[in-house]
């Protein structure tokens, strides 16, 4: 790819990017969120049209206007959010678009044979009769890889493939990729913002920053620190700084908490713990071990079927979210788009959600009613502008829909809203998942500030480095129960890893 340029309204996503891939190599594209990695690959895959520049495949200049043309050129892409069709079997998903037929009908027998052959060759085992929606993320990824291979991909683009995987699954994926490229069977473009991964797996690394190529280097010639510097444009502090903080009173206490999941199964089976002021309690566990139900139960979005929740010593079991917020609970949800904001509404509207009906944002106007009716637009504008500045939210205007913000900026918006209400207790559910290093660092620092102020923080995370670095104590969740609560400084990452998978 030579001089590839792509403009979106207001931004240049790719600015004269040069990129080349050699046969049989793994070439990482490293960059923060919004650096233009995915845009570049979407151009290669025919999802976006390039404004300038050219693409050559095997020396031939090509114009790729649709994914079908990319597939025909031997380019396969595995998107960050999987593109599998729920309701179709794994087999149907793999052959979709390239179905073997006999007469007018699908030849599923032949498809099965061919897929099993491919799977055996690269040790990718999947249940062909399963439905993708029932598979774990690692299983879906295997299906996607098989799909790309089945479509005849010689160049495999993988967009942040490890973000959904557990540590041992990452190892497995890297092994499989090494094997495939080692035989010269395919070449891989590996998009990531995780430095150690890029170093470990790649032959070469291209670093993108703000749509421009910073450099392309051999993976052996560089260290993590240099890479980080190139990627972010400044030095990055890796260790989370933690000051001593005073332990205050117990702000959140749960006792024998039980709840059911959406399909009516009791997945939270009697959880008890306490979080005190000035303390971060980490909840470590593999997704689906009851954390989601626990969070929902505490913030009032799921019915508590047994047990009690106490906030500041008061019984707050099964209160409405509104009442809980009034008690001083702040919530940073995992699903930012779905729960954190209303994506269609503007930043200024989102930033006053929850306080929009209170002074000074609302007033009674001339009406003789108790309730606030009218929004004071000037006050809201002023307030929104102040918070956007204070929290470094990168946006051209406060009128921009929240849904159009990048992950990091969206999280800052949510943080701004929740923090400005001065909550005593913060529930932070995977607050940095999917964010780039810069934003992660920012969120961590902000949470630490709150801890120093004497607030209680419940931190749910799958990222063991984060849990270990941030927490004072760590509660290990496994199959709906807290199996242990440990002091963070007395435990190693490996030990936690074994605990959350039920090995200890």
């Amino acid at each position: 790819m030579r001089g590839v340029t792509k403009r979106f309204p207001g931004v240049v996503a790719n600015d004269h990017v040069d990129f080349d891939l050699r046969r049989g190599e793994i070439h990482s594209i490293l960059g923060e969120n919004g650096a233009g990695k995915t845009t570049l690959m979407n151009i290669l895959y025919g999802l976006y049209r390039l404004d300038e520049g050219e693409i050559r495949v095997n020396g031939q200049r090509v114009s790729i206007g649709a994914p079908k043309e990319a597939i025909d050129l031997g380019i396969g892409m595995i998107h960050q959010s999987f593109t599998l069709v729920a309701g179709l079997t794994v087999l149907d998903n793999i052959v979709l678009g390239r179905e073997p037929t006999r007469g007018p009908f699908l030849d599923r027998k032949r498809a099965e044979r061919e897929i099993i052959e491919l799977g055996d060759r690269f040790k990718l085992k999947v249940d062909l009769e399963a439905r993708p929606e029932h598979l774990p993320a690692s299983g879906k990824q295997k299906v996607e890889i098989l799909k790309a291979l089945y479509q005849g991909a010689k160049i495999l683009v993988m967009d942040e493939p490890t973000s959904v995987l557990l540590p041992h699954e990452k190892e497995e994926l890297m092994r499989a990729l090494k094997e495939m490229t080692g035989e010269g069977f395919i070449s891989v473009i590996f998009i990531t913002h995780k430095l150690p991964e890029a170093l470990k797996i790649s032959d070469r690394i291209t670093i993108l920053r703000r749509g421009k190529v910073v450099d392309t280097i051999k993976a052996g010639d560089v260290e993590v620190k240099d890479l980080a510097q190139m990627m972010v444009g400044r030095d990055v502090i890796f260790d989370i700084e933690r000051a001593e903080s005073e332990r205050g009173e117990g702000l959140l206490e749960v006792e024998g908490l039980e709840a059911y999941n959406d399909t009516g199964v009791r997945t939270l089976k009697g959880v008890s713990f306490e979080v005190r002021g000035g303390e971060i309690l980490g909840i470590a566990g593999v997704s689906g071990n009851g954390q989601e139900e626990l969070v929902d139960a505490i913030v009032g979005l799921r019915k508590v079927t047994a047990g009690k929740v106490f906030i500041k010593g008061e019984d707050a079991t099964n209160l409405s979210p509104k009442d809980l917020r009034a008690l001083g609970v702040g919530y940073i949800p995992e699903d930012r788009m779905g729960r954190g904001v209303m994506p269609e509404l503007s930043i200024r509207e989102n930033i006053i959600l929850g306080t929009h009906s209170q002074k000074p944002f609302a007033n009674r106007g001339p009406l003789p009613f108790e309730n606030m009716w009218f929004t004071n637009q000037d006050k809201v504008d002023e307030y929104a502008k102040r918070l956007v500045e204070e929290y470094n939210i990168d946006t051209p205007s406060i009128e921009k829909p929240a849904g159009k913000l990048s992950g990091g900026n969206l999280q800052k918006l949510i943080l701004a809203r929740e923090f400005s209400r001065d909550p005593q207790l913060l529930i932070a559910d995977k607050p940095t998942s999917g964010l780039d290093i810069g934003s992660q660092e920012y969120i961590h620092r902000k949470l630490m500030e709150k801890r120093a102020e004497g607030k209680a923080i419940l931190l749910i995370s799958e990222d063991l480095d984060e849990v270990l670095g941030m927490s004072d104590r760590i509660a290990i969740m496994y199959e709906g129960r807290v199996v242990d609560v440990v002091q963070a400084e007395r435990v190693s990452k490996e030990e936690i890893g074994e605990m959350i998978t039920g090995l200890r």
């Binding site: 999802l47 976006y48 599998l84 069709v85 179905e99």
Partner: protein, 290 residues
Amino acid sequence: MMQQISSILSFFPVIGLAALGGFLSQKSGVWNLSLEGIMAFGAFSGVYAYHYFGGSIWVSLLFGFLMGFVIGMLLSALTVRLSLDQVVVGFGLWFLTEGLAGFLYTTLLPSVKVKEVLGFHIFSLDPVFYMTLLAFGLVYVIMKNTKQGLAVVAVGENPRAADVAGIDVSKVRWICTSLGSGFVGLAGAYLSLVILQGFTYNMVAGYGWTAFALILFGRLKTSGVFWGSLFFTFLIGAQTRLQVAGGTFIPPEFVVIIPYLGVIVALAAAGAMGKKAGIPSALGVHYDRE
């Protein structure tokens, strides 16, 4: 007895073809909320063709199908191509086509009485009845066992996935919507030409909306839509017979609502059974690549 069943079943193509047509469109992710109007227009078109194009009932049915197809193309042009809201367009086309049918009927058509009987009958049922059964069978097989069927399901469920697998989302959607609307037009033409032997104002009388409800009742599965259509056909049969046999002790007003009551009960039952399995996730959602 046999005669009774046949005469009840003779109404099946009206409901079955309309439901199947809407089903095709919905399965590919496009709401077709104009079933009622397209049926009315198909009904008018059929009688119009019968009067002006030489009085062949087959040609007239085909003309009804074609007019439905054209409206379907318009529907997909507005929603798929121009990305207008499917609900707004659907309601708009419903009013437009139903109104147009009534208007053209009063201005262009004299009172027409269809005299011809359709083809030869087996068990007192005409060829269109058997063609409807065949159409259901074909759609069932296509959805399950062909690449075209896979493409339709993929486009309705996850257009992004279909797109990255090299399937032309817009093309699949417009074909399904147009072809489906063709079936709906045919259902209307059959209603006017064969069942009522002429066009009257407001003759579709909610059958289009009933078909719409049946698609949801059938959970957007070919078999579900088939059984739902059959069930409703029997309810209509029961209604007309009760009107005759009910005499004085069942108020006629009550008898008239039986089929619709049946649909409401069936829909509620379907809802109570729980999950919305089968309804395409991307139904009603416009797909854009960038």
